[in-house]
Symmetry: C2
Subunit: 356 residues, 2 copies
């Protein structure tokens, strides 16, 4: 049963492969849109927010949405753990899980597209693809946006563009981001220089879990800061160009490690794998840091015991809400550290069993 | 071939069981004796030292020595690595390996008795038994001493006792020592208090590799300091009494760990085992520290992957000369760290293969 959960719970959008998937874990496009005639969600009444949900649902039925067989989930129907599970899978935002509003999410069959309703804005279309696929993600988001716009009157200003609840989103209403795994740049000490350069070209760097989150497991999110005065295509091209440069630098750093200190990398990857295999108490941060070393070892062909997707799978599974979902009950912090160690070992054994 | 070496090289005296073997790794008695009519080895000529070797060999043939089929090995016939291998197995002293003298060792068939000839003194009888067996070791050493004395005129003074090259051994010429593994006392922080108390009752505390050696792997040697003014039986009783007290305190500390922090101990043991299983570079000190945690986990029933003798076996096998003997060539320090990791994994796999 647990095996089944582990197999099925790993965020679906991460299962596929994608270009540069050894370094770019995922690409995300998010569009913020609002109804012209309805107050922003924080000011709207239940009837108005319900109208938003219904209108969007209806509009998606009028064409080929690309959502497969979508399901609409109302936040008020979910337990707080179930909401948090979705946050950890990056399917909804922490805000949507937190606010006690008449809000909902429409999920595509593959869970690669999620349309949040009555979050900060009425509509937030999110497309999340594995690897470096910003353009494809934008095409998909753009297509859904067009479909909704056929029947919904968006709040749009000729000069400013799309109006949003928060001024930082006004304009295109678009946030494009990539999630990068950069262990070699961290080991060679080049990461800080590169990240500060990224900041200079109008892009923001964040940790795995968004704004204000600590960097763990050498995982970085890079996204556009500016939503005004640039076309979506220009923004995506900018982010894409910077990402490709970082990917190349990470690849060069890995090549350098291979030449100069392959044994050290293998040693660290092996020890990290060994610890994950037999530890009994593991915090999230430590797990991600160890998984990062394991993943680097696998990527560099120095560790054969597991496959590369162990990082992708576990970075979701070991989060508090997912752990509690698996346990079927609330867990104290200490209990979570024990459960986490157990789940990690389950996942590792699924790999080693397969090999035998 | 390597497996065979690993199986056979582990010091034989450690293979057996003995009382309190989970805490007392070994018990050792050493008697220093000299010929009355021959100058101390540092002053003796080759003819005289040769006479010492022959006399002792002959005297051992005159009765039931308890050595089985002993072999006499002359130091000058050994390579420097072979000598060092014997030092690491505690079969000869570092001094015997170092001095360029006409010296030799007579080893019992089981390698639990070694009689060094022309070390600092003419004769050093050493008995090394697993577990807490000081009395048995003394009986054996005493028996051999008697046998030699039947045909050799010892340097003996009615007032002082046996004369030795170094004044610190004059009197009984006896050094009795035990090698203890005290991880729980180290974890609970009681170790320093206990060791300083040990110092107060005329006993000396040393690390695994004798005088001046750093404490690694929570392994301590405790021995008598005084050789004068006390009978052998009194000295042994004193050391035995203190050892039993320490064993009891270690057992209590383990019980306390079991009650208060079993999971933490299991976690540390597991992580240590995991690191030893997959590391690619390991120093001696780190290996012994990790093995100490593994052994504690096994002793407490918290780690099933290996058996307890892994510490006993590996504390010898991972030493520099043994590693080089296994490799069949000289190794630089860095190469030894890699070879060490390899040997440790071999030894672990011998365990896990057996389980399957």
């Amino acid at each position: 049963m647990l095996d089944k959960y582990i197999r099925e719970t790993g965020a679906k959008w991460m299962e596929g492969e994608g270009p540069h998937h050894n370094i770019v874990l995922s690409s995300r496009i998010r569009l913020a849109r609002n109804f012209r005639e309805v107050p922003f969600p924080s000011l709207a009444g239940d009837e108005e927010t319900e109208q938003v949900i219904n209108s969007v649902q209806e509009s998606l039925k009028r064409g080929e949405s690309g959502l497969g067989r979508p399901k609409t989930i109302k936040m008020k129907d979910l337990s707080s753990i179930d909401k948090q599970v979705m946050v950890e899978k990056h399917l909804i935002s922490p805000l949507l899980a937190k606010e006690d509003r008449n809000s909902a999410v429409i999920l595509s069959q593959d869970e690669d597209i999620s349309i949040m309703l009555n979050e900060e804005d009425h509509i937030r279309i999110q497309c999340l693809f594995p690897g470096l696929q910003l353009e494809k993600a934008f095409e998909m988001a753009d297509h859904i946006d067009d479909l909704i716009e056929e029947s919904v009157d968006y709040a749009f200003d000729e000069e400013l563009g799309f109006m949003t609840a928060c001024p930082t989103n006004v304009g295109t209403g678009m946030r494009a981001s990539v999630m990068l795994h950069l262990p070699a740049l961290a080991i060679t000490g080049q990461i800080n220089r590169i990240l500060s350069a990224v900041g200079q070209v109008g892009l923001a760097v964040r940790g795995l879990y968004g704004e204000g989150s600590e960097v763990v497991g050498n995982i970085f999110q890079i996204s556009n800061q500016i939503t005004l005065g640039q076309s979506e295509q220009d923004m995506i091209e900018n982010l894409l160009g910077v990402t490709k440069q970082i990917v190349e630098q990470e690849e060069q750093a890995r090549k350098k490690l291979e030449e100069d200190s392959e044994l050290k990398v293998a040693d660290k990857a092996g020890r990290s794998f060994g610890q994950l295999s037999y530890a009994r108490i593991v915090t999230t941060k430590e797990a991600l840091d160890l998984l990062s070393q394991v993943r680097l070892g696998v990527d560099m062909g120095l560790l054969k015991e597991v496959d590369a997707t162990i990082l992708d799978d576990l970075m979701v599974l070991i989060r508090p809400a997912n752990l509690q979902k698996i346990a079927g009950k609330e867990l104290e912090s200490g209990e979570r550290d024990t459960k986490r160690a157990e789940i990690i070992q389950k996942r590792i054994n699924m790999n080693t069993d397969k090999q035998e």
